[in-house]
């Protein structure tokens, strides 16, 4: 969290630079069933972030060494499009996307009823088309809706949300400037019905009290986004194509 202190992120009225209050999320919209070629798919816009997720499978797991006798494996690829950031990103996997893919897969394996599909693989492809801070969370939310759209049984949905700290103040859902110049970022994947946590990362500096407040904000945001996820799936089945 470099560069703290060199940019003012809170206005004199206590609001943030884009006019949000400290516990206010950026606008979110979700659509399910957006990619005809996929078994399940979703597009999530969260602020200026745009993430698309596609699900293929369950299918035969290959190479065979990745097979698990007792359950399915979830193969996640989180990828940022070359034009999704300020400076163009060279296509291909890097260390950051590999790590995000790994922990996202493990989070999704925690909610999908993987025991139902031994020796198989479920492919989850997360493509970030536009990035404005918080893309891993937007990707998780998109992946969960895409899995549900594919009809894959899950214990619960999973919602990606993040809170952080700017100018010693805990705020919900960091935008780009806040992420670049803030003091902490706490992205989590929340199971909205059970209240459990399947994804957790953090970097920066938070006191225990600040952590607790950030988590409180995250749970509030997760239940708001969950409503939109369910609504997107309902609209998709009312639409009734493929």
């Amino acid at each position: 969290m470099g560069g703290y202190g060199d940019v003012k992120l809170l206005r004199d009225d206590g609001k943030r630079l884009d006019g949000r209050t400290v516990d206010e999320m950026r606008p979110v919209s979700i659509e399910a069933g957006v990619l005809p070629a996929a078994d399940g798919s979703a597009m999530v816009t969260h602020g200026l972030n745009v993430a698309v997720a596609a699900v293929y499978g369950p299918m035969e797991a290959h190479p065979r060494k990745i097979q698990r006798q007792d359950r399915a494996v979830i193969d996640v690829r989180y990828n940022m499009a070359p034009f999704s950031t300020g400076d163009r990103i060279r296509p291909g996997f890097n260390r950051r996307s590999r790590e995000i893919s790994k922990v996202t897969a493990e989070a999704l394996e925690s909610v999908v009823l993987v025991e139902r599909y031994p020796r198989s693989k479920i492919r989850v492809e997360i493509e970030i088309l536009a990035a404005e801070a918080g893309t891993r969370c937007v990707g998780i939310t998109a992946a969960a809706v895409a899995l549900a759209d594919a009809g894959i049984p899950m214990r619960d949905m999973i919602v990606g949300v993040a809170s952080g700290k700017i100018e010693d103040t805990v705020v919900l859902d960091l935008d780009k400037a806040e992420d670049n110049h803030g003091q902490a970022d706490l992205p989590v994947g929340i199971l909205p019905n059970t209240g459990e946590i399947a994804f957790l990362q953090m970097d920066g500096d938070l006191s225990i009290e600040e952590f607790n407040l950030a988590m409180e904000y995250n749970f509030k945001a997760a239940s708001e986004i969950h409503v939109l996820m369910v609504d997107a799936l309902k609209r998709r089945y009312e639409r009734g194509d493929n």
Partner: protein, 261 residues
């Protein structure tokens, strides 16, 4: 993943062709529905989304400042690349760029480059020192057939609406990228023994060779590509070229209309 070519699909395509029909009910030279959206992504200096039947493709334009090639000190550069990522179809696997994605990027690149719609001299900032590098990235999200035409359309639409981010690089004021003309691609696949325009996924799967034609505003040819196994006659080519002229004109008007907004 190797796609099996179902014998039954091939037979069905042949039967339909004999009756002058297509598997989705279209006529031989009919297109599927095409929709185009421009300036749809934050961070990309130019962007376009094309939904062409079941095919969905985004193109994004980014700029960088680089030193010019020593033998062309006053010319910028253009690069167009494509990624057939596993998101787009279950047949695509992760890994380094496949020959198919390289072919797609290069065919689109040639059409744009050779049409001369981008004047490389206009991309010069300081001769011998600083020029703009323009990079078009084609991102296929759903392959429902005929990704070439959709990619070409997305690329030129993104380019024609791109804004050069001069302020961010501290080299002047932001300005619209100068693009003289709209090269447009039209693609044909042999399905059931005859060529059809805008092949669907099934027609590609059960079909043979494909031909991609890129035409400029004056109706001149700027890029041709024959792909996959199969042969064709000059008279077959003359026939599809005539169709291409009409299709390219229609799509060029669609791009012009979106730009006006």
């Amino acid at each position: 993943m190797v796609e099996l070519v179902p014998t039954l699909l091939r037979q069905e395509l042949e039967r339909l062709a004999a009756e002058d029909q297509r598997i989705d009910g279209r006529g031989q030279w009919d297109s599927r529905n095409v929709s185009l959206e421009v300036d749809c992504l934050y961070n990309a200096e130019g962007s376009a989304k094309v939904v062409w039947g079941d095919t969905i493709i985004y193109a994004g334009v980014k700029f960088e400042i680089r030193t010019p090639w020593p033998d062309r000190p006053t010319q910028g550069s253009l690069m167009c690349g494509a990624e057939l990522r596993p998101v787009a179809h279950r047949k695509y696997e992760p890994g380094p760029p496949s020959p198919q994605s390289i072919e797609l990027g290069r065919v689109v690149d040639r059409g744009i480059r050779e049409s001369g719609c981008i004047d490389m001299e206009k991309l010069c900032i300081v001769p011998g020192e600083k020029v703009w590098g323009v990079m078009i990235d084609i991102h296929v999200l759903s392959d429902g057939g005929n990704i070439f035409d959709a990619a070409g359309l997305a690329a030129i639409a993104a380019l024609r609406t791109a804004v050069v981010p001069a302020e961010r690089f501290d080299v002047g004021e932001d300005h619209r990228l100068l693009v003289n003309g709209s090269p447009i691609m039209a693609s044909f696949t042999r399905a059931g023994g005859r060529f059809v325009y805008d092949p669907s996924e099934e027609e590609e799967l059960g079909g043979d060779e494909r031909i991609h034609i890129t035409l400029g505003d004056e109706g001149h040819l700027h890029s041709l590509q024959k792909g996959l196994r199969g042969v064709f006659t000059p008279s077959e080519f003359a026939e599809i070229l005539a169709v291409a002229e009409q299709k390219c004109t229609e799509l060029r008007e669609m791009v012009a209309e979106k730009e006006g907004n």
